[in-house]
């Protein structure tokens, strides 16, 4: 199989503009006749469904949640990037493009990333017009802050709840189209398969999660906006119900999974506290604007902290190792996520971890509180302020910026982060890998599109902070509404799908069979316990660092676990009923297969890049060693039921940036 990314001709800067002006269009009278299924109602799905509805397509939107507003986009904290250059600090579309390509360690497509940077500015305008209450300066204009891996301030934010506010904007736009009759919304419907007819994606099979009924839905095209697969690790910052099933079902019907081993490990999460733990909580990267990461220089101090006999605030400045500032003086605490995560792992592996499990480092705000306190005292005209006054004023400034994050931390840990530094440790947060798509966001299956975190296209081997919201909304508001036309323009004479057709009946029967298989095992272990086991295995062997031996062991273990799953899982309840355990069971079954492809991808990629760190490939200083001559490709995997999976490569060419060793020193 040959992959064609369908990148338009012309100069990088003109590709999207000229493509947009010359692509096939669908006339308004024909749009009404064309049905589009959008699965998932997070930022990408809701914005796409709303926009396609506005354009006049007949849209059906599906979510397994009770409401589109619950999608996990809601939990994104820090912000959204856009090349507005409102701060006059030298930002531009090119710079955002360049930062994203470099941040992704040169494993993403130039043309897609440039388009992303280009439409980023329109997203902000659109969101403001919808009433998204972004943070503003006293003059009434939009405020910005900095994020990791860049040296400009281009991140727009709404306190620590940017994802929530952007999702509500997209959700409201979607509900407006529901009211207008352009979008039909199916809540509590989970997609369990995609229907392929005459080699094109023509519909989906859903399970009504309230009644358990299976249903067939037809359309001219199917768009998946179903998020990432971070929950394969069991413990992640994803919501409990995030899963890979929609994308994985597409893979089982012939779509390709690209770069599945590229998973992002976020450096600032609240550490694991016990074996009962169900998920991990992120502390926004924006905290690294003001928080300084450190561990004690001496192991004696480490020991005392673990025992609780020494307060971290009592350790003197010179006895602290601000290891990010030491190792990466140019970017300091604002190095990209993969670099910060690995550095935390290194100090903890060396025995400097500051909690009882030895898997935590400090994120300290005392310097910021002092700095802001002094500045505030000065601006209030207080001369010779006392230390207490400075702290009081400084804490107020910090509260205004990060109040909700500090509160969240205190609720979970029971510690007050204004007084004692936060403890953090890396955790799985985002998956750069996803369904292979071309420039049109179309998979290799005609009529099947993938957007947002569900596709692989824009972040390479590492995503920069505040770029997930940008990509989800870029794809949904400004890319797919155009590019889907390139497929649908040739479908204007295709009648509405007949869901009684054999392909629909057969696909439904396949889904029924899968459900019955799981229900009938009647074993003795819960779905949850299998999921935990799978997660731990993947985290140990295919997590923050990987090696050949470990990956090969993991492959055997995953296959054995999968076998055991079908012999010993127990799913309570009935198939035709509200049954969350059954929902989990079908999702974990898919994770079990995905895990295999992740491991194979990590094995194939004999280099270190971004979130993928192969221990065999590192510099003497322990930095990632990329091998551009051999590995500058997208690895797209075709699943085969006899486990003879095929790797198809899309070579990446870089005409506009020079491939450099990523250095944040």
């Amino acid at each position: 199989m040959q992959l064609n990314a369908n990148i338009p001709e012309g100069e990088l800067k003109e590709k999207w503009q000229s493509y947009r002006s010359s692509m096939k269009l669908v006339a308004p009278n024909n749009k009404r006749k064309l049905e589009v299924i959008v699965v998932g109602t997070g930022l990408a799905g809701a914005s796409a469904a709303a926009t396609l509805g506005e354009l006049g397509y007949s849209v059906k939107a599906y979510t397994f949640h009770d409401s589109p507003r619950r999608a996990h986009s809601i939990a994104a904290q820090g912000g959204i990037n856009a090349a507005k250059n409102y701060q006059n600090d030298g930002d531009s579309v090119y710079r955002l493009f360049y930062d994203t390509i470099k941040g992704g360690d040169y494993r993403s497509r130039e043309a897609n990333v440039y388009r992303l940077a280009e439409v980023s500015t329109e997203i902000i305008d659109q969101a403001v017009a919808q009433g998204v209450p972004f943070a503003r300066e006293y003059g009434g204009l939009l405020a910005n802050r900095s994020f990791g891996g860049v040296q400009v301030s281009r991140t727009f934010y709404a306190r620590g709840q940017t994802g929530q506010q952007l999702l509500l904007g997209a959700y409201q736009a979607l509900e407006r189209q529901v009211a207008n009759g352009n979008v039909k919304l199916f809540n509590r419907h989970e997609m369990l398969d995609v229907v392929i007819k005459d080699d094109k994606a023509r519909g989906i099979i859903t399970r009504n999660l309230v009644t358990g009924e299976l249903q067939r839905h037809g359309a001219h095209a199917v768009v998946l906006a179903t998020g990432g697969y971070g929950n394969v690790y069991y413990l992640s910052t994803n919501a409990m119900n995030c899963n890979v099933s929609a994308a994985w079902r597409a893979v089982k019907r012939g779509a390709l999974m690209a770069n599945p081993s590229f998973c992002q490990i976020h450096p600032t999460c609240i550490p694991v506290s016990g074996s009962y733990q169900s998920k991990l909580t992120l502390m926004s990267e924006s905290l690294r604007n003001d928080g300084r990461v450190w561990v004690p220089k001496s192991k004696e101090d480490v020991q005392k902290i673990r025992e609780g006999s020494l307060e971290p605030s009592h350790i003197k400045e010179e006895d602290r190792d601000y290891y990010l500032e030491r190792r990466y003086p140019a970017f300091g605490n604002l190095v990209p996520r993969d670099v910060a995560s690995r550095a935390a792992k290194t100090v903890c592996d060396e025995g400097y971890g500051v909690n009882q499990s030895g898997l935590a480092v400090f994120l300290d705000f005392s310097s910021a509180i002092e700095r802001y306190g002094k500045a505030e005292a000065h601006s209030q005209g207080i001369s010779n302020p006392s230390d207490e006054k400075i702290t009081e004023l400084g804490e107020k400034v910090v509260e205004k910026k990060y109040g909700n994050l500090f509160e969240m931390y205190e609720k979970i840990k029971g510690d007050n982060p204004y007084k004692t530094p936060m403890m953090i440790y890396p955790a799985i947060h985002y998956t750069m890998g996803g369904l292979w798509v071309d420039y049109n966001l179309q998979t290799n299956v005609p009529g099947l599109f993938a957007m947002g975190e569900a596709n692989f296209s824009d972040h390479g081997a590492n995503r920069l902070g505040a770029s997930a919201l940008m990509q989800g909304l870029a794809d949904g508001y400004f890319v797919i509404p155009y590019t889907i036309g390139t497929f649908l323009a040739d479908e204007i004479n295709t009648p509405a799908m007949d869901i009684e057709a054999e392909e629909f009946q057969q696909t439904e029967a396949d889904v029924r069979q899968r459900i019955e298989t799981l229900m009938n095992v009647d074993g003795s272990k819960s779905v949850e316990s299998f999921h935990r086991e799978l997660g731990l295995l993947i985290w140990d062997y295919c997590g923050m660092s990987r090696n050949e031996k470990g990956l090969k062991t993991a492959l055997e273990k995953v296959r054995a676990l999968r076998k055991e799953y079908y012999e010993n899982v127990y799913v309570p309840g009935k198939a035709k009923d509200y049954n969350p355990e059954l929902e989990k069971a079908t999702r974990v079954a898919d994770f079990m297969e995905l895990a295999e492809i992740m491991i194979l991808d990590a094995l194939d990629r004999e280099e270190s890049c971004g979130g993928h760190f192969r221990e065999e490939y590192q510099t003497e200083e322990g930095e990632a060693l990329r091998r551009d001559d051999e590995y500058a490709y997208v690895a797209a995997w075709k699943w085969s039921d006899d486990l003879d999976h095929e790797l198809i490569k899309e070579n990446l060419t870089f005409d506009n940036v020079e491939l450099k060793t990523r250095s944040y020193k």
């Binding site: 506005e54 507003r69 619950r70 204009l141 409990m240 009962y276 169900s278 316990s529 509200y578």
Partner: protein
């Protein structure tokens, strides 16, 4: 810690529900939902039916979790969703009762799970700014006073969980509706449709079978996001203005 749970069990909307008693062993670092996970794992091990409850993000922002704990929506802690509530706030040997949201406009699905799509229909009635993708002017073309922006944000932080309805003796959705009306009315972008929005959303709220607001303030007191009662005053102003403009 050893706890006794009294949990509302109900197979479906048309069957009779009842409280059932369970013993569970928890520790103080667990979240409330993790404690329920432990119970469910235990029930599954005994091949008994686990308790159905809704949850997703477990970081207090998605608004999915919804249970009345010891008589209070989301439990005893102020400004805390059930998923963010930790067991250190309970005592050894304590009995905890857990019930679903109870309101006519939130029909029960199973055990602790209710249908809150009436909230979506209130938003559908007008909880948006009518702007199509691509029509927007530059984001900085209309300055917004910082305080207005902050007020709009505070109202917009509503997570749509429904605790306000569950807390209200009349099962009114006034605070939920008011938060959206007030968020959009505070901003110049939302001002244009303010009158129409207020009247349509209130009409939908009534149609869904939510009760009347009698200003008890329980909604705001129990709101995990501390949405202020001022929003209700704001909604009343907007609604009155809309009625007069209509007349």
């Amino acid at each position: 810690m050893n706890l006794t749970l009294e949990i509302w069990r109900q197979e479906g909307p048309n069957t009779k529900g009842r409280f059932e008693k369970y013993k569970v062993e928890a520790n103080e670092h667990m979240s409330f939902l993790e404690m329920l996970d432990v119970l469910n794992e235990d029930l599954i091990a005994q091949k008994r039916q686990p308790v159905s409850f809704e949850h997703d993000c477990r970081e207090g922002i998605c608004g999915t979790c919804s249970m009345v704990i010891n008589g209070k929506p989301h439990g005893p802690m102020k400004a805390t969703t059930a998923c963010q509530l930790h067991m250190r706030h309970f005592k050894e040997g304590q009995t905890i009762t857990i019930e679903p949201w109870r309101a006519r406009a939130f029909p029960l699905i199973k055990d602790l799970v209710v249908d809150r799509s009436s909230f979506d229909r209130i938003i559908e009635a007008g909880g948006y700014v009518s702007v199509n993708t691509g029509q927007a002017p530059d984001g900085n073309s209309i300055p917004v006073e910082e305080q207005d922006s902050v007020d709009a944000f505070d109202a917009a932080t509503c997570i749509g969980c429904g605790a306000c309805v569950a807390a209200c003796p009349n099962a009114s959705a006034m605070l939920f509706t008011a938060a959206k009306v007030s968020h959009l009315a505070k901003l110049p972008q939302g001002r244009v449709e303010a009158d129409e929005r207020a009247s349509k959303m209130v009409a939908q709220m009534d149609k869904e079978g939510f009760g009347m607001c009698s200003n008890t303030g329980a909604c705001s007191a129990e709101c995990p996001k501390e949405i202020s009662l001022d929003n209700i005053a704001k909604l009343n102003r907007e609604y009155l203005h809309a009625s007069l403009a209509d007349a």
